[in-house]
Each structure stands twice: as structure tokens, then as C-alpha cells.
């Protein structure tokens, strides 16, 4: 019986290498794969934006592409942050639904406004945590060129966009503080965030019609 703690210890030690290897088991995106993915995704988006379709058709097509190339669930999870532990399962489901809607509307509203956009992939750098940041220069008519970084991560076997970085500011970090502020201003209630999101969805919907 005296041996039991030792056995537990040895067993735990035997498990250590397995734990250390666990992070390696996750497939990291290679820089070349990430660049290729961003080039392809960018061309796909621009094909729709600069194409001949009507505004409504374009919006629908863009929304489809965004759902495909952006890891919306992961971004939503990150944005909700520590409130994941506070929200009820029903609230979480509603939040994700609203987050999908908002992201799609926001991205398509921004992109649709600009015709004649071109972009160039500059380079790609591996980041700690298995992500790759792909630097691009986006040229829009009547505006100075903007450097935009796309953070790409492997999500269940395929590369997806998890963040957009412009001038050192991360979109998901900014959004997280935006959402957290709504919750803090309303006494820590997640329901207040959901109400604000519903209002915003209704607002952007009315704009895009």
C-alpha cells in the first residue's frame, strides 16, 4: 500500500512526454499554405465585388464566402471571452447566431461599398501559437494603400482566417473590448449584450436593403 503514491507519481511521470507532445499533434499551417489560402480567398472575394451581379446577389455570395473562409465560431468564442463562463447555454447559442449575422453583414457592407479594389500578398510569418500572419497591401480607389495582416489558423484540417490586423490593431481584440464594455455598463448582464446585438442586426439589415 505504501507503494501507491509512488505508483501514481510514476504513472504521472510516464504521461508527461505525452502531454508535452500533445500541442505538436495539432497541425500548424505552413506559411506557404497560408499565403496560398489568402491569395485564393482574396481573389474569390474580389471576383464577386468587381463582378457584374446586382448588389443583393453580391451580398448573398459574399456572405457565403465569408462563412467559408473565416473561422466565425472561434472568433465569436474569443470575442465573448471570459463571459463564456457566465452565459447560460441558451444565451451562448443565441450569441453565436447573432455573431454570425453581424460579422457577415459588417464585412459585406464594408466590402460592397468599394469597387475596383486590388490586393497584393507581401509575405507570411509564423506566429507563436501555431498561427501565420499573412501581410497584404490593399489598394482602393481614392484612398491611400493600406497594409492589412490576415491571421490564419488551422481549424479542423483547413486554413481559416481568425483575425485581421490593421496598423497594429487587431479586429477581434477590439471587438472583445467593445462587447465587454456593453456587459460591464449593464451590471455584468450577458442579456444586455444580446439585446444590443439584436438591435445592431436590425440596424445593419435596414441599411443593406
Amino acid at each position: 500500500m505504501a507503494n501507491t503514491p509512488r505508483r501514481v507519481m510514476l504513472g504521472a511521470l510516464a504521461l508527461l512526454p505525452a502531454l508535452a507532445l500533445a500541442p505538436l499533434a495539432r497541425a500548424d499551417v505552413s506559411t506557404s499554405a497560408a499565403s496560398a489560402f489568402i491569395t485564393q480567398a482574396g481573389n474569390q472575394l474580389l471576383g464577386v465585388i468587381n463582378g457584374p451581379d446586382s448588389t443583393a446577389q453580391k451580398a448573398a455570395a459574399l456572405r457565403g464566402i465569408v462563412e467559408n473562409i473565416v473561422a466565425v465560431d472561434q472568433v465569436g468564442q474569443f470575442v465573448l471571452g471570459r463571459y463564456t463562463n457566465v452565459a447560460t447555454p441558451a444565451q451562448k447559442t443565441e450569441y453565436m447566431q447573432l455573431f454570425h449575422d453581424l460579422l457577415a453583414y459588417n464585412i459585406t457592407a464594408q466590402i460592397r461599398a468599394d469597387k475596383g479594389i486590388t490586393f497584393k500578398v507581401n509575405n507570411a510569418q509564423a506566429q507563436p501559437g501555431g498561427t501565420v500572419i499573412v501581410d497584404t497591401t490593399v489598394n482602393r480607389p481614392s484612398a491611400a494603400p493600406t497594409d492589412v495582416g490576415w491571421v490564419v489558423q488551422d481549424v479542423s484540417g483547413s486554413p481559416k482566417i481568425v483575425d485581421v490586423v490593421v496598423e497594429g490593431t487587431s479586429l477581434r481584440v477590439t471587438e472583445r473590448s467593445d462587447y465587454a464594455s456593453v456587459i460591464v455598463s449593464n451590471g455584468g448582464q450577458v442579456s444586455a449584450l444580446l439585446a444590443a446585438m439584436q438591435k445592431q442586426v436590425a440596424h445593419v439589415k435596414s441599411l443593406s436593403q
Binding site: 481614392s142 477590439t174 467593445d178 464594455s181
Partner: protein, 257 residues
């Protein structure tokens, strides 16, 4: 005299009245979020944010829209280059205080080259020959010395800042080239026009992004606060990244391995 004595008290009163009440520590998520915001003067800050927003919507933004109609992207780039060049001496001094010799040298070369070859700073030939602009100011110098940012401040007219970066305002004023010669009416007119033009020019470049933030953010105030902090952190990182020291050719080179 009475007014002089009471005004500071009134202001102090306004500041204290504008302090936010932190949530109880037992409510972990709310308390952590409050700490992370680092914005104890939030009620006062939000008042100034609203005032600035009204001013912006009624004055600055309409002017910027009109300005955009009568100018080209190229013209606005030259106005921007001109204002950047006037800021170069202040950057030189700040880089020296930060001990960033490479960047101080770059700021000096940029000022000399752009003021002469670049016709008073209207053009930026220095960037094309390998001396790009790196931004710094007294707030970033203090950050480099290890001073924390302190609580967030939203200043009337000037916008997002924090206790550390607010020290920038008097320093920047003293370090512009126009502060060097003796004061004169002509110089003041030039100085005000330059500041005004530069302000409108910058606002014009931000017409799209600011509208977009106000349109899409749930709480634009918090969004601007986060953007300001991230932007400052990224400027600080860029200074570290760009200050690469190399051994000059005339100095005994380290032995090749």
C-alpha cells in the same frame, strides 16, 4: 481672484463626481473586466466623448467632406508629408532621450533631406532612399523609460489619451520648429493654419474608418479606447523593431566565424 481659486475646486469636484464605481470583487468576471478597462474616469470621459462627437459631426466632418471634394489623394499626401516633416525635430529629441541612436539619426537625415530636396517637406524623398518615418513622442519616451500608461483619458477636442500620453501636449508645442524663432503675428498665423490644415487633412483620411466604427460598434467609445491603446502598443513595438544597431564600416569589425 475668487474665480481663480474656485475653478480648480470645481474641476476637482467634477472629476470626483465623474468617477466610476467599481463592481464588488466577489463578482470575478465583472471586476476583472473593470480592471482591464482601466478607465476610472469613464463617466467624465464619456461626456467629453459626446461633446467631441457633436463638434465632429457638425464642424470637422462636414469640412473634411468638402475638403475631400476639392483635393486629390496626391495633394493630401503632400500636406501629410509637410506636417510630418515639421514633427521631425521633436522626434529627433525624443529618440535621443530614448537612447535610440539609429532612429535619432534617421529623424535628422529625414528633416535635413526633406526640408531641402523635398522643398520644405512637401515631398518625402527620404523614404524612397531608405529612411522611412518612425513615429515617436514624449508619451512613448516615457513608456520606453518604463512609465505605465495610467488611466485612460478622453480629452476635450484632442480625443483619446491617457495620463502618460497627455504630457505630450506641452512638450510637442515646445519642440515644433515654429516655437524656435521669436514670436510674430506671421508665425502664429502660419502655425495655426498649418495645425488646422493638418487636422482637416487627417480627418479626411479617416472619413471611411471612423464612419465604419460608429456604424458597426456596439459601443463606439469603448472601441476607440481599445484602438488607441493597441495603436500605442504597436508604435512602441515598431520603435524597438526598427532601432537596429549596426557596426559602422570604419570601426574594427568583429572576427568572422
Amino acid at each position: 481672484m475668487v474665480l481663480k481659486k474656485t475653478v480648480p475646486f470645481l474641476m476637482l469636484g467634477a472629476l470626483l463626481a465623474g468617477c466610476a464605481t467599481p463592481p464588488p470583487q466577489s463578482d470575478t468576471a465583472a471586476y476583472q473586466a473593470y480592471q482591464e478597462q482601466n478607465d476610472p474616469l469613464q463617466p467624465t470621459n464619456r461626456v467629453f466623448y459626446k461633446v467631441n462627437d457633436v463638434l465632429d459631426n457638425n464642424v470637422l466632418k462636414p469640412v473634411a467632406i468638402g475638403y475631400k471634394d476639392i483635393t486629390t489623394t496626391g495633394f493630401r499626401q503632400h500636406v501629410d508629408d509637410f506636417a510630418t516633416n515639421l514633427g521631425e525635430p521633436a522626434r529627433l529629441v525624443n529618440f535621443m532621450m530614448e537612447g535610440k541612436s539609429r532612429l535619432a539619426g534617421t529623424a535628422l537625415v529625414r528633416f535635413l533631406m526633406n526640408s531641402t530636396v523635398g522643398i520644405g517637406g512637401i515631398f518625402d524623398p527620404a523614404t524612397s532612399v531608405g529612411y522611412p518615418e518612425t513615429n515617436t513622442d514624449f508619451g512613448l519616451t516615457l513608456a520606453d523609460w518604463g512609465v505605465g500608461e495610467g488611466p485612460y483619458l478622453y480629452l476635450p477636442l484632442l480625443g483619446p489619451s491617457d495620463v502618460r500620453d497627455a504630457t505630450n501636449i506641452p512638450i510637442e508645442f515646445l519642440l515644433t520648429p515654429t516655437a524656435a524663432p521669436p514670436a510674430s503675428t506671421g508665425l502664429s498665423v502660419f502655425s495655426y493654419s498649418e495645425t488646422g490644415l493638418s487636422l482637416v487633412n487627417t480627418r479626411t483620411d479617416l472619413l471611411g474608418p471612423i464612419d465604419q466604427i460608429k456604424e458597426t460598434a456596439l459601443d463606439p467609445y469603448a472601441t476607440f479606447r481599445s484602438l488607441y491603446r493597441q495603436n500605442r502598443a504597436s508604435q512602441l513595438k515598431q520603435i524597438e523593431k526598427r532601432n537596429v544597431l549596426t557596426t559602422p564600416d570604419w570601426y574594427p569589425q568583429p572576427a568572422q566565424k
